[in-house]
Symmetry: C2
Subunit: 246 residues, 2 copies
Protein backbone atom coordinates (compact mmCIF):
# COMPACT_ATOMS: atom_id res chain seq x y z
CA UNK A 1 0.00 0.00 0.00
CA UNK A 2 1.41 3.32 -1.06
CA UNK A 3 0.16 6.55 0.36
CA UNK A 4 1.32 9.53 -1.66
CA UNK A 5 0.30 12.07 0.95
CA UNK A 6 3.23 11.55 3.28
CA UNK A 7 6.88 10.46 3.35
CA UNK A 8 7.99 6.85 3.75
CA UNK A 9 10.27 6.21 6.73
CA UNK A 10 12.77 3.42 6.10
CA UNK A 11 14.79 1.63 8.77
CA UNK A 12 17.90 0.06 7.27
CA UNK A 13 19.10 -3.10 9.07
CA UNK A 14 17.37 -2.34 12.34
CA UNK A 15 18.60 -4.62 15.10
CA UNK A 16 16.21 -4.60 18.03
CA UNK A 17 12.51 -5.17 17.59
CA UNK A 18 11.91 -2.81 20.51
CA UNK A 19 13.35 0.03 18.48
CA UNK A 20 11.20 -0.75 15.46
CA UNK A 21 8.09 -0.69 17.63
CA UNK A 22 9.15 2.51 19.40
CA UNK A 23 9.82 4.13 16.03
CA UNK A 24 6.38 3.12 14.74
CA UNK A 25 4.81 4.59 17.86
CA UNK A 26 6.82 7.82 17.57
CA UNK A 27 5.95 8.48 13.94
CA UNK A 28 2.28 7.52 14.19
CA UNK A 29 2.02 10.08 16.98
CA UNK A 30 2.89 12.59 14.27
CA UNK A 31 0.41 11.13 11.79
CA UNK A 32 2.89 9.09 9.72
CA UNK A 33 1.76 5.62 8.68
CA UNK A 34 4.32 4.32 6.19
CA UNK A 35 7.25 2.36 7.57
CA UNK A 36 9.54 0.11 5.55
CA UNK A 37 12.24 -2.20 6.87
CA UNK A 38 15.38 -3.31 5.06
CA UNK A 39 16.66 -6.70 6.26
CA UNK A 40 15.69 -6.40 9.93
CA UNK A 41 18.16 -8.48 11.95
CA UNK A 42 15.54 -10.48 13.83
CA UNK A 43 13.11 -10.91 10.96
CA UNK A 44 9.56 -9.71 10.68
CA UNK A 45 6.97 -9.80 12.24
CA UNK A 46 8.58 -9.29 15.60
CA UNK A 47 6.85 -9.72 18.96
CA UNK A 48 9.00 -7.18 20.74
CA UNK A 49 8.18 -4.59 18.12
CA UNK A 50 4.48 -5.28 18.67
CA UNK A 51 4.93 -4.74 22.40
CA UNK A 52 6.74 -1.41 22.20
CA UNK A 53 4.58 -0.02 19.42
CA UNK A 54 1.65 0.44 21.85
CA UNK A 55 -0.72 -0.60 19.09
CA UNK A 56 0.79 1.68 16.45
CA UNK A 57 1.75 -1.15 14.09
CA UNK A 58 -1.88 -2.19 13.74
CA UNK A 59 -3.01 1.33 12.94
CA UNK A 60 -0.35 1.99 10.28
CA UNK A 61 -0.23 0.74 6.72
CA UNK A 62 1.21 -2.78 6.74
CA UNK A 63 4.98 -2.66 7.30
CA UNK A 64 6.83 -3.41 4.06
CA UNK A 65 10.00 -5.50 4.30
CA UNK A 66 12.78 -5.53 1.67
CA UNK A 67 16.03 -7.40 1.31
CA UNK A 68 17.99 -4.44 0.00
CA UNK A 69 17.83 -0.69 0.34
CA UNK A 70 17.78 -0.39 -3.45
CA UNK A 71 14.50 -2.28 -3.58
CA UNK A 72 13.05 -0.34 -0.67
CA UNK A 73 13.56 3.02 -2.39
CA UNK A 74 12.93 1.91 -5.98
CA UNK A 75 9.60 3.76 -6.26
CA UNK A 76 10.82 6.92 -4.51
CA UNK A 77 11.80 10.15 -6.27
CA UNK A 78 13.78 11.70 -3.43
CA UNK A 79 15.76 10.05 -0.68
CA UNK A 80 16.98 11.79 2.49
CA UNK A 81 19.50 9.89 4.61
CA UNK A 82 19.82 10.80 8.30
CA UNK A 83 23.35 10.80 9.60
CA UNK A 84 25.04 12.06 12.71
CA UNK A 85 28.45 12.38 11.12
CA UNK A 86 29.78 14.33 8.22
CA UNK A 87 31.06 11.69 5.87
CA UNK A 88 33.22 11.79 2.88
CA UNK A 89 30.38 12.33 0.46
CA UNK A 90 29.56 15.56 -1.33
CA UNK A 91 25.80 15.80 -0.87
CA UNK A 92 23.67 18.60 0.54
CA UNK A 93 23.21 18.35 4.31
CA UNK A 94 19.90 19.64 5.65
CA UNK A 95 18.51 20.40 9.07
CA UNK A 96 15.43 18.28 9.90
CA UNK A 97 13.23 21.34 9.44
CA UNK A 98 14.61 22.15 6.00
CA UNK A 99 14.53 18.52 4.86
CA UNK A 100 10.89 18.19 5.87
CA UNK A 101 9.97 21.47 4.18
CA UNK A 102 11.48 20.10 0.95
CA UNK A 103 9.74 16.78 1.54
CA UNK A 104 6.44 18.58 1.90
CA UNK A 105 6.87 20.46 -1.36
CA UNK A 106 7.94 17.32 -3.24
CA UNK A 107 4.88 15.47 -1.96
CA UNK A 108 2.68 18.37 -3.03
CA UNK A 109 4.00 17.77 -6.55
CA UNK A 110 3.06 14.07 -6.32
CA UNK A 111 6.61 12.83 -5.80
CA UNK A 112 7.44 10.10 -3.31
CA UNK A 113 9.98 10.82 -0.60
CA UNK A 114 11.91 8.34 1.56
CA UNK A 115 13.68 9.18 4.80
CA UNK A 116 16.36 6.68 5.81
CA UNK A 117 17.58 5.72 9.27
CA UNK A 118 20.60 3.49 9.79
CA UNK A 119 21.03 0.64 12.22
CA UNK A 120 21.35 1.46 15.92
CA UNK A 121 25.02 0.61 16.20
CA UNK A 122 26.67 2.27 13.23
CA UNK A 123 24.05 4.32 11.42
CA UNK A 124 24.02 4.40 7.64
CA UNK A 125 27.09 3.26 5.73
CA UNK A 126 28.68 5.07 2.81
CA UNK A 127 27.12 2.63 0.34
CA UNK A 128 23.69 3.41 1.73
CA UNK A 129 24.26 7.15 1.74
CA UNK A 130 25.34 6.86 -1.88
CA UNK A 131 21.74 5.92 -2.69
CA UNK A 132 20.38 9.11 -1.15
CA UNK A 133 20.07 12.50 -2.86
CA UNK A 134 20.35 14.41 0.36
CA UNK A 135 21.64 14.05 3.90
CA UNK A 136 19.96 15.21 7.10
CA UNK A 137 21.81 15.93 10.32
CA UNK A 138 19.95 16.63 13.54
CA UNK A 139 21.78 19.45 15.35
CA UNK A 140 22.84 18.02 18.68
CA UNK A 141 24.93 18.76 21.76
CA UNK A 142 28.49 18.25 20.49
CA UNK A 143 29.51 16.78 23.86
CA UNK A 144 26.70 14.25 24.00
CA UNK A 145 24.88 13.11 20.90
CA UNK A 146 23.34 9.72 21.42
CA UNK A 147 19.87 10.03 20.00
CA UNK A 148 18.36 6.59 19.60
CA UNK A 149 16.54 5.35 16.52
CA UNK A 150 13.01 6.17 17.70
CA UNK A 151 14.09 9.61 18.88
CA UNK A 152 15.75 10.48 15.57
CA UNK A 153 12.59 9.32 13.81
CA UNK A 154 10.49 11.38 16.23
CA UNK A 155 12.42 14.55 15.42
CA UNK A 156 11.83 14.09 11.69
CA UNK A 157 8.18 13.09 12.20
CA UNK A 158 7.62 15.99 14.58
CA UNK A 159 8.82 18.43 11.91
CA UNK A 160 6.27 16.81 9.58
CA UNK A 161 3.51 17.19 12.16
CA UNK A 162 4.37 20.87 12.54
CA UNK A 163 3.62 21.37 8.86
CA UNK A 164 0.51 19.21 8.75
CA UNK A 165 -1.22 19.20 12.13
CA UNK A 166 -2.76 22.61 12.58
CA UNK A 167 -2.06 24.22 15.91
CA UNK A 168 -2.32 27.81 17.02
CA UNK A 169 0.98 28.99 18.47
CA UNK A 170 -0.92 30.20 21.51
CA UNK A 171 -4.57 30.29 22.54
CA UNK A 172 -6.62 30.74 25.68
CA UNK A 173 -9.23 28.03 26.29
CA UNK A 174 -12.04 29.74 28.22
CA UNK A 175 -14.26 26.73 28.83
CA UNK A 176 -17.96 27.62 28.94
CA UNK A 177 -17.30 31.28 29.46
CA UNK A 178 -16.06 33.96 27.03
CA UNK A 179 -13.45 36.64 27.36
CA UNK A 180 -15.12 39.62 29.01
CA UNK A 181 -16.10 42.55 26.83
CA UNK A 182 -14.25 45.79 27.42
CA UNK A 183 -17.49 47.25 28.75
CA UNK A 184 -17.84 44.61 31.47
CA UNK A 185 -14.14 44.81 32.23
CA UNK A 186 -14.37 48.61 32.64
CA UNK A 187 -17.50 48.40 34.79
CA UNK A 188 -15.70 46.23 37.36
CA UNK A 189 -12.76 48.59 37.65
CA UNK A 190 -14.96 51.70 37.71
CA UNK A 191 -16.67 50.07 40.67
CA UNK A 192 -13.33 49.21 42.30
CA UNK A 193 -12.11 52.79 41.78
CA UNK A 194 -15.21 54.17 43.46
CA UNK A 195 -14.94 51.81 46.44
CA UNK A 196 -11.26 52.60 46.85
CA UNK A 197 -11.91 56.35 46.53
CA UNK A 198 -14.74 56.26 49.05
CA UNK A 199 -12.57 54.34 51.53
CA UNK A 200 -9.62 56.72 51.26
CA UNK A 201 -7.24 54.49 49.29
CA UNK A 202 -6.09 57.41 47.13
CA UNK A 203 -4.30 59.49 49.70
CA UNK A 204 -2.41 61.42 47.08
CA UNK A 205 -5.16 62.53 44.68
CA UNK A 206 -2.81 63.24 41.78
CA UNK A 207 -1.71 59.59 41.83
CA UNK A 208 -5.24 58.29 41.44
CA UNK A 209 -5.20 58.22 37.67
CA UNK A 210 -1.86 56.42 37.40
CA UNK A 211 -2.61 53.90 40.11
CA UNK A 212 -6.01 53.16 38.65
CA UNK A 213 -4.47 52.62 35.23
CA UNK A 214 -1.81 50.29 36.67
CA UNK A 215 -4.40 48.13 38.43
CA UNK A 216 -6.31 47.82 35.16
CA UNK A 217 -3.12 46.91 33.32
CA UNK A 218 -2.45 44.03 35.70
CA UNK A 219 -5.90 42.51 35.17
CA UNK A 220 -5.90 43.35 31.48
CA UNK A 221 -2.79 41.21 30.98
CA UNK A 222 -4.75 38.26 32.33
CA UNK A 223 -7.62 38.84 29.81
CA UNK A 224 -10.32 37.72 32.26
CA UNK A 225 -13.45 35.87 31.20
CA UNK A 226 -16.99 37.05 31.97
CA UNK A 227 -17.11 34.41 34.69
CA UNK A 228 -13.90 35.67 36.25
CA UNK A 229 -15.20 39.26 36.17
CA UNK A 230 -18.27 38.02 38.04
CA UNK A 231 -16.04 36.29 40.58
CA UNK A 232 -14.10 39.51 41.06
CA UNK A 233 -17.38 41.40 41.59
CA UNK A 234 -18.22 38.83 44.26
CA UNK A 235 -14.84 39.28 45.92
CA UNK A 236 -15.32 43.05 45.88
CA UNK A 237 -18.76 42.76 47.43
CA UNK A 238 -17.43 40.44 50.13
CA UNK A 239 -14.39 42.55 50.97
CA UNK A 240 -16.45 45.77 51.08
CA UNK A 241 -19.06 44.24 53.31
CA UNK A 242 -19.29 45.47 56.90
CA UNK A 243 -20.49 42.10 58.10
CA UNK A 244 -18.07 39.84 59.88
CA UNK A 245 -18.99 36.20 59.59
CA UNK A 246 -18.32 34.23 62.74
Amino acid sequence: MNDNTQPVFILVNPQMGENIGATARAILNCGLKQLRLVAPRDGWPNERAEATSSGALEMMHPIQVYQTLGEAIADCHHVFATTGLTRDVVKPVHTPEHAIQQTYSYIEKGQRVAILFGCERVGLGNQEMALANNLVTIPMNPDFSSLNLAQAALVMAYEWSKLTIQAKSIFLPTGKSEIATTENFARLFDRLDKELFDKGFYRVPEMKETTSRNIRALFSRATPTEQEINTLHGILTTLSSMRIKK
Copy 2:
Protein backbone atom coordinates in the same frame (compact mmCIF):
# COMPACT_ATOMS: atom_id res chain seq x y z
CA MET B 1 23.49 24.14 41.25
CA ASN B 2 21.48 26.60 39.26
CA ASP B 3 22.28 27.42 35.69
CA ASN B 4 20.48 30.53 34.52
CA THR B 5 21.30 29.97 30.86
CA GLN B 6 18.69 27.30 30.21
CA PRO B 7 15.29 26.04 31.38
CA VAL B 8 14.83 23.53 34.20
CA PHE B 9 12.93 20.38 33.22
CA ILE B 10 10.88 18.97 36.08
CA LEU B 11 9.40 15.47 36.18
CA VAL B 12 6.47 15.31 38.58
CA ASN B 13 5.97 11.92 40.25
CA PRO B 14 7.82 9.94 37.60
CA GLN B 15 7.20 6.22 37.99
CA MET B 16 9.80 4.21 36.11
CA GLY B 17 13.50 4.87 36.51
CA GLU B 18 13.95 3.87 32.87
CA ASN B 19 11.91 6.88 31.82
CA ILE B 20 13.89 9.26 34.01
CA GLY B 21 17.12 8.02 32.45
CA ALA B 22 15.72 8.17 28.93
CA THR B 23 14.51 11.71 29.57
CA ALA B 24 17.95 12.76 30.84
CA ARG B 25 19.52 11.29 27.72
CA ALA B 26 17.02 12.99 25.42
CA ILE B 27 17.44 16.45 26.88
CA LEU B 28 21.22 16.30 27.22
CA ASN B 29 21.30 15.49 23.50
CA CYS B 30 19.81 18.95 23.08
CA GLY B 31 22.28 20.55 25.48
CA LEU B 32 19.99 20.73 28.53
CA LYS B 33 21.57 19.84 31.87
CA GLN B 34 19.05 20.74 34.56
CA LEU B 35 16.61 18.06 35.64
CA ARG B 36 14.54 18.10 38.83
CA LEU B 37 12.36 15.32 40.17
CA VAL B 38 9.31 15.67 42.38
CA ALA B 39 8.69 12.61 44.58
CA PRO B 40 9.91 9.93 42.15
CA ARG B 41 7.98 6.73 42.94
CA ASP B 42 11.05 4.51 43.26
CA GLY B 43 13.28 7.01 45.05
CA TRP B 44 16.56 8.50 43.93
CA PRO B 45 19.23 7.58 42.88
CA ASN B 46 17.84 4.83 40.68
CA GLU B 47 19.90 2.15 38.97
CA ARG B 48 17.53 1.73 36.06
CA ALA B 49 17.72 5.44 35.36
CA GLU B 50 21.50 5.21 35.31
CA ALA B 51 21.30 2.39 32.78
CA THR B 52 18.95 4.09 30.32
CA SER B 53 20.63 7.48 30.60
CA SER B 54 23.63 6.24 28.60
CA GLY B 55 25.91 8.29 30.81
CA ALA B 56 23.82 11.47 30.57
CA LEU B 57 23.14 11.67 34.32
CA GLU B 58 26.84 11.98 35.06
CA MET B 59 27.29 14.76 32.53
CA MET B 60 24.39 16.87 33.73
CA HIS B 61 24.17 19.06 36.79
CA PRO B 62 23.31 16.87 39.81
CA ILE B 63 19.64 15.87 39.69
CA GLN B 64 17.65 17.80 42.31
CA VAL B 65 14.88 15.95 44.15
CA TYR B 66 11.94 17.63 45.91
CA GLN B 67 9.02 16.36 47.93
CA THR B 68 6.49 18.76 46.41
CA LEU B 69 6.08 20.59 43.14
CA GLY B 70 5.75 23.85 45.05
CA GLU B 71 9.27 23.45 46.39
CA ALA B 72 10.63 22.38 43.01
CA ILE B 73 9.43 25.56 41.29
CA ALA B 74 9.93 27.97 44.20
CA ASP B 75 12.89 29.76 42.58
CA CYS B 76 11.33 29.89 39.07
CA HIS B 77 9.69 32.95 37.53
CA HIS B 78 7.74 31.16 34.81
CA VAL B 79 6.28 27.67 34.76
CA PHE B 80 5.08 25.86 31.64
CA ALA B 81 3.09 22.66 32.18
CA THR B 82 2.94 20.12 29.37
CA THR B 83 -0.42 18.47 28.91
CA GLY B 84 -2.04 16.38 26.26
CA LEU B 85 -5.57 17.30 27.17
CA THR B 86 -7.44 20.54 27.34
CA ARG B 87 -8.46 20.77 30.97
CA ASP B 88 -10.87 22.92 32.76
CA VAL B 89 -8.37 25.66 33.47
CA VAL B 90 -8.21 29.06 31.78
CA LYS B 91 -4.52 29.42 31.01
CA PRO B 92 -2.75 30.15 27.74
CA VAL B 93 -1.95 26.99 25.77
CA HIS B 94 1.23 27.15 23.65
CA THR B 95 2.76 25.00 20.97
CA PRO B 96 6.20 23.66 21.97
CA GLU B 97 7.83 26.08 19.54
CA HIS B 98 6.05 29.11 20.97
CA ALA B 99 6.61 28.04 24.58
CA ILE B 100 10.33 27.64 23.97
CA GLN B 101 10.56 30.97 22.17
CA GLN B 102 9.03 32.60 25.24
CA THR B 103 11.32 30.57 27.48
CA TYR B 104 14.31 31.79 25.53
CA SER B 105 13.31 35.43 25.87
CA TYR B 106 12.60 35.06 29.60
CA ILE B 107 16.01 33.49 30.13
CA GLU B 108 17.62 36.32 28.17
CA LYS B 109 16.13 38.64 30.79
CA GLY B 110 17.67 36.57 33.59
CA GLN B 111 14.41 34.89 34.64
CA ARG B 112 14.25 31.20 35.53
CA VAL B 113 11.85 28.97 33.59
CA ALA B 114 10.54 25.53 34.56
CA ILE B 115 8.94 23.07 32.18
CA LEU B 116 6.79 20.42 33.88
CA PHE B 117 6.05 16.88 32.78
CA GLY B 118 3.50 14.72 34.58
CA CYS B 119 3.72 11.10 35.55
CA GLU B 120 3.60 8.46 32.81
CA ARG B 121 0.15 7.17 33.65
CA VAL B 122 -2.00 10.25 34.11
CA GLY B 123 0.10 13.30 33.26
CA LEU B 124 -0.20 16.43 35.35
CA GLY B 125 -3.21 16.87 37.62
CA ASN B 126 -5.31 20.00 37.95
CA GLN B 127 -3.59 20.92 41.21
CA GLU B 128 -0.24 20.77 39.48
CA MET B 129 -1.39 22.74 36.47
CA ALA B 130 -2.72 25.36 38.87
CA LEU B 131 0.90 26.09 39.79
CA ALA B 132 1.86 26.81 36.19
CA ASN B 133 1.48 30.13 34.38
CA ASN B 134 1.16 28.52 30.99
CA LEU B 135 0.26 25.21 29.37
CA VAL B 136 2.00 23.51 26.47
CA THR B 137 0.32 20.98 24.19
CA ILE B 138 2.33 19.05 21.62
CA PRO B 139 0.23 18.84 18.45
CA MET B 140 -0.31 15.15 17.79
CA ASN B 141 -2.22 12.73 15.61
CA PRO B 142 -5.75 12.92 17.04
CA ASP B 143 -6.24 9.18 16.40
CA PHE B 144 -3.04 8.14 18.17
CA SER B 145 -1.33 10.29 20.71
CA SER B 146 0.78 8.24 23.06
CA LEU B 147 4.02 10.13 23.33
CA ASN B 148 6.02 8.79 26.24
CA LEU B 149 7.75 10.91 28.85
CA ALA B 150 11.18 10.97 27.22
CA GLN B 151 9.66 11.74 23.82
CA ALA B 152 7.62 14.65 25.13
CA ALA B 153 10.75 15.96 26.83
CA LEU B 154 12.69 15.46 23.58
CA VAL B 155 10.22 17.57 21.61
CA MET B 156 10.56 20.44 24.08
CA ALA B 157 14.34 20.07 24.30
CA TYR B 158 14.64 19.83 20.50
CA GLU B 159 12.85 23.16 20.15
CA TRP B 160 15.40 24.56 22.58
CA SER B 161 18.28 23.13 20.57
CA LYS B 162 16.86 24.71 17.41
CA LEU B 163 17.22 28.12 19.04
CA THR B 164 20.62 27.52 20.59
CA ILE B 165 22.62 25.03 18.54
CA GLN B 166 23.63 26.79 15.37
CA ALA B 167 22.96 24.85 12.20
CA LYS B 168 22.72 25.99 8.61
CA SER B 169 19.41 24.94 7.09
CA ILE B 170 21.34 23.43 4.19
CA PHE B 171 24.99 23.24 3.24
CA LEU B 172 27.20 21.25 0.89
CA PRO B 173 30.25 19.68 2.53
CA THR B 174 32.89 19.51 -0.18
CA GLY B 175 35.62 17.72 1.74
CA LYS B 176 39.11 18.73 0.63
CA SER B 177 37.92 20.19 -2.66
CA GLU B 178 36.07 23.43 -3.35
CA ILE B 179 33.06 24.23 -5.51
CA ALA B 180 34.36 24.77 -9.06
CA THR B 181 34.65 28.32 -10.31
CA THR B 182 32.34 29.28 -13.16
CA GLU B 183 35.42 29.51 -15.38
CA ASN B 184 36.43 25.90 -14.77
CA PHE B 185 32.83 24.78 -15.03
CA ALA B 186 32.46 26.53 -18.41
CA ARG B 187 35.77 25.16 -19.72
CA LEU B 188 34.59 21.58 -19.24
CA PHE B 189 31.33 22.14 -21.06
CA ASP B 190 32.97 24.13 -23.86
CA ARG B 191 35.20 21.10 -24.34
CA LEU B 192 32.20 18.74 -24.24
CA ASP B 193 30.36 20.90 -26.79
CA LYS B 194 33.34 20.77 -29.14
CA GLU B 195 33.72 16.99 -28.83
CA LEU B 196 29.99 16.48 -29.39
CA PHE B 197 29.98 18.86 -32.37
CA ASP B 198 33.02 17.21 -33.94
CA LYS B 199 31.44 13.78 -33.57
CA GLY B 200 28.13 14.80 -35.10
CA PHE B 201 25.95 14.82 -31.94
CA TYR B 202 24.18 18.00 -33.04
CA ARG B 203 22.29 16.72 -36.05
CA VAL B 204 19.87 19.62 -35.96
CA PRO B 205 22.19 22.65 -35.83
CA GLU B 206 19.52 25.02 -34.57
CA MET B 207 19.02 22.81 -31.47
CA LYS B 208 22.67 23.06 -30.51
CA GLU B 209 22.31 26.10 -28.34
CA THR B 210 19.29 24.79 -26.39
CA THR B 211 20.71 21.31 -25.90
CA SER B 212 24.04 22.69 -24.79
CA ARG B 213 22.29 24.94 -22.28
CA ASN B 214 20.20 22.07 -20.93
CA ILE B 215 23.25 19.88 -20.38
CA ARG B 216 24.89 22.72 -18.45
CA ALA B 217 21.73 23.21 -16.40
CA LEU B 218 21.77 19.58 -15.32
CA PHE B 219 25.35 19.76 -14.08
CA SER B 220 24.89 23.24 -12.68
CA ARG B 221 22.13 21.99 -10.37
CA ALA B 222 24.67 19.61 -8.87
CA THR B 223 27.18 22.45 -8.19
CA PRO B 224 30.24 20.28 -8.88
CA THR B 225 33.52 20.65 -7.04
CA GLU B 226 36.88 21.24 -8.76
CA GLN B 227 37.68 17.60 -8.11
CA GLU B 228 34.44 16.47 -9.73
CA ILE B 229 35.14 18.71 -12.75
CA ASN B 230 38.52 17.00 -13.06
CA THR B 231 36.83 13.60 -12.86
CA LEU B 232 34.44 14.64 -15.62
CA HIS B 233 37.41 15.76 -17.77
CA GLY B 234 38.89 12.30 -17.21
CA ILE B 235 35.65 10.61 -18.23
CA LEU B 236 35.50 12.79 -21.34
CA THR B 237 39.07 11.91 -22.26
CA THR B 238 38.37 8.21 -21.76
CA LEU B 239 35.12 8.17 -23.70
CA SER B 240 36.64 10.15 -26.59
CA SER B 241 39.67 7.94 -26.79
CA MET B 242 40.05 5.67 -29.84
CA ARG B 243 41.91 3.09 -27.81
CA ILE B 244 40.11 -0.02 -26.66
CA LYS B 245 41.61 -1.49 -23.55
CA LYS B 246 41.70 -5.28 -23.58
